[in-house]
Symmetry: C2
Subunit: 336 residues, 2 copies
Amino acid sequence: MTASHRRPTTREVAALAGVSVATVSYVLNGKDGRVGEETRRRVLAAADELGYVRSSSARSLRLRRTERVCLVVGSIGVPAYDQLARDLSAAADEAGYGVMTIVVDSPARADKAVDLLRQHVADGAVVAPSVPLADAQLRALTGSRLPLVVMSNAVAPDGFDVVRTSEAAACVEAFDHLAATGRRRIAYLAHEHELTGRQPSERRDAYLDALDRHGLGPELVVPGADDRVGAYRAVEALLARPDRPDAIFAASDRAAITAILALRDAGLAVPEDVAVVGVGNLEEGRITRPPLTTVGPPAMDFHDVARLLFDRVLADETPFDREITTSWSFIRRGSA
Amino acid sequence: MTASHRRPTTREVAALAGVSVATVSYVLNGKDGRVGEETRRRVLAAADELGYVRSSSARSLRLRRTERVCLVVGSIGVPAYDQLARDLSAAADEAGYGVMTIVVDSPARADKAVDLLRQHVADGAVVAPSVPLADAQLRALTGSRLPLVVMSNAVAPDGFDVVRTSEAAACVEAFDHLAATGRRRIAYLAHEHELTGRQPSERRDAYLDALDRHGLGPELVVPGADDRVGAYRAVEALLARPDRPDAIFAASDRAAITAILALRDAGLAVPEDVAVVGVGNLEEGRITRPPLTTVGPPAMDFHDVARLLFDRVLADETPFDREITTSWSFIRRGSA
DNA sequence: CTGTTAGCGCATTCAG
DNA sequence: CTGAATGCGCTAACAG
């Protein structure tokens, strides 16, 4: 590899191989058949010797296509996103595409992400659940004709596909169960974005509705579902109240699991003294004592999402908008 | 926004505004002062009307620079990576750069990631700890003159900067403490990559060394540190052994925390019956009962890493290789 | 202050 | 089967 200062180009490879750049391109893109075996070998040898690597910008510009897709998530450190990334990567591998992830953990970064996407850094994108993208931003993306799959219950397909969950019904079932088993004071441990975000929260709505329908006390919504430490502190604070709850519905399994620990640490029995329900159906809910009662999908599987995206990305013309619903249910185990 | 089929270009904006493409470029890149106020306004209006968004491929090709950096992680779902992404994003914002993340969770994907990076999809990259990149792959990256910061104790700077930790010494201290407090049968709960990977594990080496120095029994290394469920099952299995350990050193805090739970569930007292030590110094270690004794950095802070990267990325010429060490210590709390 | 123009590196038509 | 020529969309000299 003759180390030159600049990165070598097809032109240099062509020169070294004694052929034209066209031939180099054919060889490098597997369009052989057009090229003689001997020539092909010479080109490959030359490319190798120069340490040639094609420029993705130049290629993308010419092809009007990046052969990359983007996964937009709200943070890393969330178990479900991990599986999502995995499933998307698997689909991308098949299509010969790359995957890049963008983390949007603030409105400012949401703007940056939308900019990047509109500048066509990828040929399509999946927006994970609870990413704080405003409607206007979504429209900006479809406006730039970017193949898009949005995982959200808060939007309807409109130039993009939507993947929703039947979480509302499942949550209702959970709350009805709590009420039916005699819980009178149910606390809701919320994600930060449920309290500050613009998007409505079906979980929380189900909670408020259930309180109403069952004639249960004033609402008791506290933040803390985003991380374990926050959840622990939130539960501690809940227990210090004079009107201590007899049930805790946490907006995430991570928080619910932590709640079980906090309750045990406080000397309370789960579910006898306080029932606990989570959301997400994490594997981890099976190793708690008692096992976690939760609301979620039967399994973490995002192949559908990946398929939706690549259908769009690889389609010749804009396909019809689609909407699929992953079915969630109330999964009763030991904690409620 | 007159929706045309193709995305509008500077040429079209120029035509609509009645100016040249150069002027459009000047305005769009904030090189005003060269451009009259009235003209500037016309250009902006035209761009807005057409819904113009610049093409990142074309710009990158021309600039020979993508204004993006890449974070390479081994999986998402790891707390430390979250902070790393955050700190890197903050630095990127300042420099006007974007951040993309690539998840490398298999050797095959490591190859793909290296390809992407060599094709210059970003102007620089940070490789997070325990990403399975072989030496040859690292060399391939520096060969293509990519600014690189590698977080690893297993490599020396060589065309890239290295961020290492003083974890070996801290682990030694932890094991010495366990031995000094009378633990005779210490189990090591390992990450999968410590068992199958090519790279040596300082933690495990410290363990083996300590057994040796203190004349302690045969080694007892089991996998399970990668996720909580695995850790729980591993500890259960450990406790079922005839030679049940009296101490567990887990390669991650998440596993250590889970170990504490598993031990409690088994009716054992921590640390009386079994001591537990983790690695990482997660916040979460403070809310366990007892609080987790661990080995790790004083705080999760990766500003240094980000600074190293951007120093390289923004430098005019290749700077000297640097190496910084983040100081880890043995943090004794209640579990050992 | 603004326009003309020459590439950045690549893929691809069209001749030969 | 191979080569010359064109342009993807953009920026930055250089002219005016």
